[in-house]
């Protein structure tokens, strides 16, 4: 059968055209397609953004919730690193999820953008670890439901050292005695050092970024980082950098530090629970120890609390809150989440059950001293200058004047 050329082209063009039309419809239709459909108000679906590990852990409770309440829980697997940005972008369009997982330090930004709503934990609040509730409390209200706590601690290679001493200098001495390439490892970045990993040493000088209110929240109007204790820390930091002992090395990135630890090149690594599995897989017998103090006071790391946030535009706020408070905040689910993620649960009963694992117990013990990472949006202005200044000091810049300059820079930005 013959089809003349012209019509063949016409058909091809038509098919292309119809596909385009389809594409056009799809793209013009999508900005609001999951949005305010009137149908969603009638016991429809709860959309929850989770990462792959959490999705597995939540499958059972989602099915249970559907069985009990007739509301389907749609677990949408997202790349964790994309969640913060996508959530901020999509909630205003009405397209975002009802619930999403995230780090508690996003709270301030989310509140400032108006994309999350407070979650009233009610009497459940007292069943959580104190630091977890403090972390999700912003401006006197709890935003979100915490499910896991993470903080850094000293990971010790038990073959190379038999204990982590209480003071930094003793630890270095121990490390040198072990005869390894490095006495102690902490991974930082050449451009921005790493205020998060160096913070325990800073707190051991009694310094903090912002003053804390009685309820554990931070007061953005009281910047305390520039205190004399901050200067003392800066001076100490310089003494450990390029112009001093070179224990803290800017060029030793997270990856390189981990690699060196896995290769047995140091008895101590300052890191979080995320590196434990790899070390154990390498056959290293690790123990989790307290962070030694550099300045005499207790070395308190930052605690990061993993949280479920409730969208400010959720059409299913009641069902979502019910799911959070009465289903996620149970020992079984918190334990399942812990088993999937390897981080201590936020619910006290699940947390205590998880303490049977010595690694979790180790991180948990260090975490008892931890302070929640500030979640106020002003923190965004702080991280950048903080890291830049620490890098300059480690490189050998003048400690006190750099620290003061940083403080005045941050103050200028906070205005």
């Amino acid at each position: 059968m013959k089809v003349n050329k012209k019509s063949a082209v016409a058909i091809a063009a038509l098919i292309a055209g119809s596909m385009l039309g389809l594409a056009g419809c799809a793209s013009s239709d999508s900005p609001a397609s999951d949005g305010d459909k009137p149908a969603a108000t009638t016991s429809g679906t709860l959309t929850v953004w989770v990462d792959a590990d959490r999705a597995r852990a939540l499958k059972d409770v989602a099915a249970q919730f559907q069985k009990d309440k007739g509301v389907k829980v749609d677990l949408v697997v997202k790349d964790y690193s994309k969640i913060q940005q996508d959530f901020t972008a999509q909630v205003p369009t009405g397209k975002g999820p009802d619930l999403t997982i995230g780090g508690h330090d996003w709270t301030g930004g989310f509140v400032q953008d108006g994309v999350i709503a407070p979650v009233e934990l009610g009497d459940k609040a007292s069943q959580f670890e104190k630091v977890a509730v403090q972390a999700v409390t912003y401006d006197g209200k709890t935003y979100g439901l915490p499910y896991a706590i993470e903080n850094i601690a000293i990971l010790r290679n038990t073959k190379l050292a038999d204990a982590t001493p209480a003071s930094f200098d003793d630890m270095i001495a121990q490390g040198e005695k072990a005869g390894t390439k490095y006495p102690f490892l902490v991974g930082i970045d050449p451009q921005g050092a790493d205020p998060y990993h160096l913070y325990p040493f800073q707190t051991s000088f009694g310094n903090s970024v912002f003053a804390q209110n009685a309820d554990g929240s931070y007061d953005a109007s009281k910047l305390t980082i520039g205190d004399a204790s901050g200067e003392a820390f800066a001076t100490w930091l310089r003494s450990q950098g390029d112009k001093g002992t070179k224990v803290i090395n800017l060029n030793l990135s997270q990856d390189l530090a981990k690699e060196a630890f896995l290769a047995g090149e140091s008895p101590y690594l300052l890191t979080g629970p995320w590196n434990v599995a790899d070390a154990q897989a390498k056959g290293i017998d690790v123990s989790v120890d307290a962070i030694p103090s550099a300045g005499g006071e207790t070395a308190a790391p930052f605690a990061g609390v993993q949280t479920f946030f409730l969208s400010a535009k959720s059409k299913n706020a009641l069902a979502a809150t019910d799911f959070l408070v009465n289903y996620i905040a149970t020992e079984d689910v918190q334990t399942a989440l812990y088993e999937a993620g390897g981080r201590p649960p936020a619910l006290t009963s699940a947390y205590q059950a998880a303490q049977s694992d010595p690694i979790i117990a180790g991180f948990g013990k260090v975490g008892e001293n931890a302070v929640p990472m500030p979640s106020i949006p002003q923190m965004g202005a702080v991280w950048d200058d903080w890291g830049k200044t620490e890098a300059a000091i480690i490189k050998g810049g003048d400690a006190v004047s750099s620290w003061q300059k940083m403080t005045s820079n941050i103050e200028a930005k906070l205005k």
């Binding site: 016409a10 038509l14 055209g17 119809s18 239709d29 459909k37 400032q112 965004g380």
Partner: protein, 535 residues
């Protein structure tokens, strides 16, 4: 397919056979014609059905602009494919639709954003901001008890049934009716009211979630709200929204916040309540880019470096590529193919991967370059402003010369040998032949590629972001930029890095970049035309 027999006469002669075949073809084409029409109508029908569906859904959501566009596009497609005689449009329409959806719309949207305050704290509408502020201003009264509630319904209104924590009596309250005892009420419900089960609560969860029931006649004592349909808590609000006046009032301090057109409720002393909302700010973002001291300084430094980087990248890769092309084109060169393959290898790796590998090799203490090539020297390749710039140029040379090598090889090989021979006969030296004959001829074909290469390097985000991340940073900039940042990486940082994102400013920057690249390309292409006339 039966070939129609047009004549009963025996078709023996060749002419008749030919005529018969031709007739068969005509008939077939005609029969195919209606099939084409059928296919056309079916496909257009599908498109129209989808368009109508999309329009209905979109209008149902209260949108107007997008459905209008869908209608226009659908009508245009119908006209183009149904009206005879629009042959060029039949071929152009799909491309034009693509062009509009993926290019023009994006450009227009970027321009629009550049004139708004879209960014952290200003990401949504005023209604959303009011909503969020109201949500955030409610806080639970400290140490207040939990009220277990049942949700009741009467005449379309919703009510809470709970017990008074002091007296233990059953009390009922609704939107305009503070909690009060009702005769005959028990734990399950009250006469005249319907008790809702969870499914019914969910079906009305918007209304029930917004229901606030005053504890008693005094509104300052707080109100009950439920967040899960079975427990209510006592809240007080620190903000009141006056919809008529459009003001927010802080009940604890008495401060009144007004909409002053800046995209946030602002008090008389200038303090703003966040979240705010998106507003049109006119040229403010452009003004800021050029006038705000802490942005202008780094902006101009970055601008200059962007030009230097793009020009030097093109120049160095072109010179090396051309040199190698000439060398490898020499007839005396052995195993050319082998060397050419090796030369093209860097081109085969993804650029961002190479940049990451190079970043590792430049590491001051552990990098291959310092450790192996320089025998353990501690050269701060990526930490020193000048060395970092050199490192970027070196890596880009490594990444870019194979392309130039390929292009130049092609161009040289297309120059006929007899031109050179003519030059040689006239007594010109090798250099003269190259300088006056080969090079101008080469430029005719290569110059447009150099311009596009310039435009590419002008926006070479991958390299900068993966190799140095823009560092070392400027000490005094209020935005997070550094010595090796080019405009596009600076835009990325303004828009997407850190907690304070400023999409409006980033869009303004990207328009500035677009204008720069367009101007440079325009003038360069005019120069190339001059070259072509040379030919």
């Amino acid at each position: 397919m039966t070939a129609p027999t047009l004549r009963d006469a025996p078709a023996t002669d060749a002419a008749t056979q030919r005529r018969g075949k031709r007739a068969a073809a005509v008939a077939e084409a005609a029969s195919a014609g209606w099939k084409v029409w059928l296919a056309k109508i079916v496909l257009l029908g599908i498109i129209d059905a989808l368009a109508i569906y999309a329009v209905l859904v979109l209008i149902g959501q209260g949108q107007w602009l997008v459905p209008a566009i869908v209608v226009v596009v659908a009508v245009a497609i119908n006209i183009v494919y149904l009206v005879p005689g629009l042959l060029p449009a039949k071929y152009l329409t799909p491309g034009l639709v693509f062009l509009f959806v993926f290019q023009i719309f994006v450009v227009l949207y970027t321009i629009y954003i550049a004139f708004t305050n879209y960014g952290s704290g200003h990401i949504s509408t005023k209604d959303d901001a009011v909503n969020a502020l109201m949500q955030q201003s409610q806080s639970r009264v400290e140490n207040s008890p939990t009220f277990p509630v049942k949700v009741l319904e009467r005449d379309g209104g919703f009510y809470f049934l709970t017990t008074d924590p002091d007296t233990g009596a059953f009390v009922i309250g609704g939107e305009d009716q503070p909690l009060a005892p009702v005769a005959g009420a028990d734990a399950a419900g009250a006469p005249g009211f319907t008790t809702l089960d969870f499914g019914q609560i969910l079906a009305h969860q918007d209304a029930i979630g917004e229901l606030s029931v005053q504890l008693d006649a005094d509104p300052n004592d707080g109100f009950l709200r439920t967040t899960d349909g079975s427990n209510a808590y006592l809240f007080t609000s620190s903000l009141t929204w006056d919809a008529a006046a459009g003001t927010m009032t802080d009940t604890t301090t008495g401060t009144v916040y007004r909409d002053t057109g800046q995209g946030a409720f602002t008090a008389d002393d200038g303090t703003q309540l966040l979240p705010g909302w998106q507003v049109w700010v006119g040229g403010d973002n452009f003004v800021r880019a050029f006038s705000d001291q802490s942005i202008r300084g780094p902006f101009f430094t970055v601008l200059i470096w962007t030009f230097v980087f793009a020009v030097l990248s093109v120049a160095t890769t072109f010179i090396l590529g051309l040199f190698l092309a000439i060398v490898f084109n020499d007839p005396r060169m052995k195993s050319k193919k082998f060397y050419r393959v090796i030369m093209i290898l860097p081109y085969a790796f993804p650029g961002f991967l190479s940049a990451l590998v190079w970043a590792g090799m430049f590491n001051q203490d552990f990098g291959f370059i310092n450790q192996v090539l320089l025998g353990g020297a501690s050269v701060p390749w990526l930490q020193d402003p000048w060395l970092a710039k050199i490192a970027i140029l070196v890596v880009n040379l490594w990444l870019g010369f194979p392309y130039m090598f390929l292009v130049c090889t092609g161009a040289i090989q297309s120059i006929p040998d007899d031109i050179q021979e003519a030059g040689r006969v006239d007594g010109a030296s090798v250099w003269q032949i190259f300088r006056h004959i080969k090079f101008p001829l080469l430029l005719v074909s290569v110059a447009p590629l150099l311009i596009s290469s310039f435009a590419f390097n002008f926006n070479n985000f991958n390299l900068v972001y993966m190799l140095t991340g823009g560092g070392p940073r400027f000490a005094d900039a209020s935005i997070n930029v550094g010595q090796t940042d080019i405009l596009i990486s600076m835009v990325y940082k303004v828009a997407f890095v850190g907690a304070n994102r400023d999409y409006g400013l980033a869009s303004a920057f990207s328009i500035i970049i677009f204008v720069l690249v367009a101007l440079i390309s325009y003038f360069s292409f005019r120069q190339t035309k001059v070259l072509e006339e040379l030919n």
